[in-house]
């Protein structure tokens, strides 16, 4: 139990980031801040993956003389892919925000939803 904080240090960081990101997604009204929160949220999971591949006293997995303990390379590879996916998500999200700003003139969700509902009655 005494080990819980220093021994599982990486988990605590991941959990902290995870919660911060989630709160930011849920709480902020600004669409760009939301995207930032989303990235933090994802980073937390990436961190968890990467630290889990670390083996104590393990070296980079290169076949060389005198090295017999390797860190697990697979999580790194997976996270590389996940980072790419995350970047793509952010890009699409920001592109949408740009379009929303063009259409509504703001990136604040409250401002958009507080407007009286202008239902286009008849779409041409």
């Amino acid at each position: 139990m005494t080990d819980a904080i220093p021994g599982l240090f990486n988990y605590w960081v991941a959990i902290g980031l995870f919660v911060c990101g989630l709160v930011m997604i849920l709480d902020s009204r600004n669409m760009i801040r939301k995207m930032v929160g989303l990235n933090m949220f994802q980073s937390a999971v990436f961190l968890l993956f990467i630290t889990m591949g670390k083996v104590e006293n393990g070296h980079a997995p290169i076949l060389a003389d005198g090295i017999s303990r390797f860190s697990n390379p697979l999580p790194h590879v997976l996270i590389l892919t996940a980072i790419v996916v995350g970047v793509a998500t952010t890009a699409v999200g920001l592109a949408l925000v740009v379009r929303i700003r063009r259409a509504y003139g703001t990136v604040d969700e409250d401002e958009i939803f507080d407007r009286p509902e202008v239902e286009p009655e008849i779409v041409p």
């Binding site: 997604i25 949220f41 999971v45 892919t81 949408l96 009655e121 008849i122």
Partner: protein, 496 residues
């Protein structure tokens, strides 16, 4: 040459749309992109059917991607369940692709069409990939490919609110996907493998501990978002109602269905019913399902927008599938698959009819649609018959689903669950009949700028074909239920 191509069918199912998507962007021409879309959709459906032909005698096809043998390499694994879902989504894709050639209600500028169709193909590549792959991380990657394409497709709606709907779906979808990633990470921590079959065996051998249970919890939340399980359904109504008509048709029959398939795979195959049920997964799923099948129709009843009303109906119908999954029995899995197929074809027909109606009358507001049934007979009658299917009246596929589901419920010993199921159909009857009453009996209150343009071939043809399927499978359901039974056997056989 041909025989070697036949061996590579599992990967072709994914690679073909992926490549054609890239070619579409390069070609940049609307005509070429459209032709490519239709041809690819045809090829994809043919591949699914050929895979079915191969799997039926052999049982299982295991395809090692790049020649790396499983469990180290990525494995594509085709069994009866996989082909069932593949055929369903590729059939829907073909119908929606043809329908997309008509009036689409989108805001695409000149030159954007090729990109639109490329996104469409990417979406299908991702969905097909999620179905064929047997690798947990691969599921995540394909999920994100299809989701990103979906956000783009939804954002193409004419109404500016489509952008908002797309953005909100993006945020929720990304959170969901991250949950799934986290769950996969936890599973990898526990077992050290990503191959689903291998994972299932190792979890089975080591038993469930807290890591596995956490993984399961994150997974259910993540997939619950993607498949619009009741408390996590928030994105769906707006996404469906503001997306271009053809995209709504596509999504209603594919995206949520594939998420449900993955849920089915993970809950039953990976965790095995025993482990999944050591925590009350069944209670959670059943509770969400009941709330969905009772609450969603009531919201649909008060909805003022035709498309969003049927989107709520989708939330309700998805709940039936989740209920069937939550039963945790072979009959439950079969019932889930039967409804997965039946709901796909019914909803595709309904959304096509809605699309035609909106394109002709120029409005989706229900109260403005008084008496349009007299001028737009074809769309309204298909809407009516589709609606009867949603209620689940005998003679429609909806009845078959409900019959199989209620039988599974009774077999599980939870006969009281039949009551919310039937109450749900009654609630669906209420919202369907509200529309029917307005379409046929309410006097037209404002003169609509109706376009009397005759129906284009690409509009009526896919609708007639899908409607034919609906009629056929309403009366001859043995093929669907029989296949679903085989698929369920493949799944529950794998898990143990």
């Amino acid at each position: 040459m041909i025989s070697s191509a036949l061996k590579h069918l599992p990967v072709l199912q994914v690679v073909v749309p992926l490549l054609v998507a890239a070619l579409c962007v390069l070609a940049g021409s609307r005509f070429l992109a459209r032709t490519a879309l239709i041809l690819t959709a045809l090829v994809m459906l043919s591949i699914s059917l050929m895979l079915a032909g191969q799997v039926y005698p052999d049982g299982v096809i295991s395809y090692a991607l790049g020649g790396w043998p499983p469990p180290w390499g990525i494995e594509y694994r085709i069994d009866m369940l996989t082909v069932f879902v593949l055929i369903t989504i590729n059939l829907v894709n073909l119908a929606a692709a043809v329908f997309a050639l008509g009036r689409n209600d989108d805001n695409l500028g000149r030159g954007a069409h090729a990109a639109f169709y490329a996104a469409w193909l990417l979406c299908m590549a991702g969905l097909n990939g999620m179905v064929v792959t047997n690798d947990a991380f691969n599921v995540f990657v394909f999920l994100e490919i299809s989701s990103l394409a979906t956000y783009v497709l939804i954002g193409c709606g004419r109404d500016p609110r489509a952008l908002l709907a797309s953005y909100r779906y993006l945020v929720m979808g990304a959170v969901g996907a991250t949950f799934i990633l986290l769950s996969i990470g936890l599973l990898y921590m526990h077992t050290g493998t990503l191959n689903l079959t291998d994972l299932a065996q190792r979890i089975d051998a080591r038993g469930a501990n807290r890591t596995v249970i956490m993984a399961l919890a994150f997974l259910i939340i993540g997939l619950g978002i993607k498949c619009a399980m009741m408390p996590l359904h928030d994105w769906l109504p707006n996404a469906y109602s503001f997306a271009p008509n053809s995209v709504t048709v596509l999504l209603s029959g594919t995206a949520t269905k594939v998420a449900l398939y993955v849920l089915l795979r993970f809950v039953h195959d990976l965790f095995g019913v025993d482990h999944a049920l050591s925590v009350p997964v069944d209670i959670v799923l059943v509770a969400c399902a009941i709330s969905g099948m009772l609450v969603a129709p009531l919201i649909a009843l008060r909805e003022s927008n035709l498309k969003r009303m049927f989107a709520w109906s989708s939330v309700a119908q998805i709940s039936y599938i989740i209920l069937a999954i939550g039963l945790g029995t072979g009959a439950g899995v079969a019932a889930a698959l039967v409804h997965l197929f039946n709901h796909s074809i019914i909803k595709v027909a309904v959304f096509m009819a809605v699309g035609i109606l909106i394109a002709r009358t120029g409005t989706a507001r229900i109260r403005h649609l008084g008496s349009v049934a007299h001028t737009h007979r074809f769309a309204c009658y298909t809407l009516l018959f589709g609606g009867l299917g949603l209620i689940g009246l005998p003679g429609t596929p909806g009845f078959v689903s409900k019959w199989v589901l209620v039988s599974a419920v009774v077999e599980r010993g939870w006969w009281w669950l039949a009551i919310p199921v039937l109450a749900g159909s009654l609630a669906s009857a209420a919202y369907v009949w509200r529309i029917v009453e307005i379409l046929w009996a309410k006097p037209a209150d404002i003169p609509l700028q109706q376009t009397r343009s005759p129906l284009a071939f690409v509009e009526w043809f896919p609708l007639v074909v899908v409607m034919g399927l609906v009629l056929w499978f309403g009366l001859h359901a043995s093929l669907v239920t029989g296949w679903a039974g085989l698929a369920a056997a493949a799944l529950t056989g794998n898990g143990s």
